[in-house]
């Protein structure tokens, strides 16, 4: 007969203490139904019964609940935080899912079937069999204009989005151009105003007619919204101030890319700085390709 302590150790060792993907099946069904509604009404924020997760709000609980509801045994998961695979948030979420789902994880964009992301869309174009899961802090694009949920819900119902145009116009009056550079508001399928989560506006064009399904989860606010593949997503602008994305004067210091989103990194206390790709996987791939090319020319 096994002693209590032996049994306790055996329990500790097994990952069977949790249901597959942490959430219970009834919660998953509820979230899955909400995702399907979100897909049917692109850009509309579907309320759902958010659950307490084993990490604080702000760490991506919305995205984690979505991933937990869609992941299966055959999925390969990639997690990025501001484009990087190796930052705390990305590493801990990847570990969480490899523990509670026992699934394969990757850092390579093209190998992943599900990519959970915080505030970036990978540089490499996504394919039709991939799903991108966004972590969203504040899902309501109108929240800073109108703090009352009862009112913003009404504004969405009535398609009353003029105040958002006014906000962008105020940017122009103040700065001479639209200064909003992240969480740049979009209209989905010509109807709902949507906050694409705090991705840089550099990534907004990737939302339009995307090959991949994109789903957004806000844990604290308990909202899910989706953009199906091949859906029109329009970034708000004016005829005389058309939407434009960020550009940099210099290329990435590491891989030399001219067409990626760059992070500014301070490198000493003299004000020296460098610009590097925020998408670590893409940057490393570019560097490897250059190394390979040099290698070929030498040999």
């Amino acid at each position: 007969m096994t002693s209590f302590s032996q049994q306790a150790t055996a329990l500790d060792d097994s990952s069977q203490q949790y249901n597959f993907a942490y959430l219970d099946e009834q919660t998953k069904r509820m979230i899955r139904r909400a995702i399907l509604k979100g897909v049917a009404i692109p850009g509309y924020q579907v309320p759902f019964g958010g659950r307490e997760m084993p990490m604080p709000y702000g760490w991506g609980t919305g995205g984690i609940m979505l991933s937990a509801s869609i992941l299966g045994q055959d999925d390969v998961l990639k997690v990025i935080d501001q484009g990087a695979d190796d930052t705390t948030n990305a590493v801990s979420i990847r570990h969480f899912f490899s523990k509670v789902c026992d699934i394969a994880t990757t850092e390579k964009t093209e190998q992943a079937s599900v990519i959970q992301t915080r505030h970036r869309i990978p540089e490499q174009a996504l394919s039709n069999n991939q799903i991108l899961v966004f972590q969203v802090p504040i899902p309501e694009p109108l929240r800073f204009i109108e703090p009352r949920e009862t009112e913003t819900k009404k504004m969405h119902a009535l398609e009353e989005y003029g105040s958002m145009q006014v906000k962008l116009y105020e940017d122009i009056v103040k700065y001479g151009y639209i200064a909003t550079s992240y969480a740049y508001p979009v209209t989905v399928h010509g109807r709902y105003l949507m906050d694409p989560s705090p991705i840089p506006k550099f990534d907004n064009p990737k939302l339009h007619q995307s090959e991949a399904l994109m789903i957004f989860g806000a844990g604290r606010e308990k909202r899910i919204y989706c953009i199906p593949p091949y859906t029109d997503v329009h970034s708000l602008d004016f005829d005389d101030h058309p939407f434009s994305i960020q550009q940099w004067d210099e290329p990435c210091s590491l891989c030399g890319s001219h067409d990626t989103f760059l992070d500014e990194v301070l490198i000493d206390d003299q004000g020296q700085r460098m610009f590097i790709c925020s998408d670590t996987d893409y940057c490393q791939k570019q560097q490897a390709a250059q190394l390979g090319a040099e290698h070929d020319s030498v040999s």
Binding site: F20, R32, I41, Y44, K154, L158, L213, P229
Partner: protein, 201 residues
Amino acid sequence: MQHIESGFIDGIHNAQQCFRYILKALSEPGTEVTLNKHPGFSPLNAATSQIIMSLCDQQTGVYLSSALAESRDGLEHAWHNLAFHNGVSSTPMEQADYLVVSGTEDLNLQSIKAGTDASPELSASVLVQTTGFDKGPRFRLSGPGIKHSVELQLGDLSDNLVDYLLKPSHRYPLGIDFMFCHQQSLVAISRTTKLELISCM
């Protein structure tokens, strides 16, 4: 006498696999997917049964149309099994979240939940058991989830169902999402999908 059949062999993973196919079908309307994890509880076909088993429980109202079975008792078998495996219970048509109907029956789609302007998600999904995807009127589909357009057939459909698909009486974002099921095959039509009639046969 009640006869309970086995449900999903691997409940957790089969439900997840079915959900991913349903998600694929609804996010890309017109795409045919195959649900092959369960043979179904007659008179529901395999695809219909698996959708209900993957998505429904005691929190959802389910309606099974009497047109699916030849006699009134014909639905008992499906109800017993769905109640046993998922805890679903019968709900009147007007309050149901998931409805299973026959494609050829005379449907009153106006009485089905279509959501409200403030909460369009409070709408029903209609699972249509159809006669196959190689007969019936030919449609051209376009809209979100469809690259350019696709052409397909949804089986023999009643006139008012065809009328609703071509010209929904609910104004977007209100509306009904359809899932057409034949044997193991599922084709979904979202409320955002625009249908044009190409030919009647």
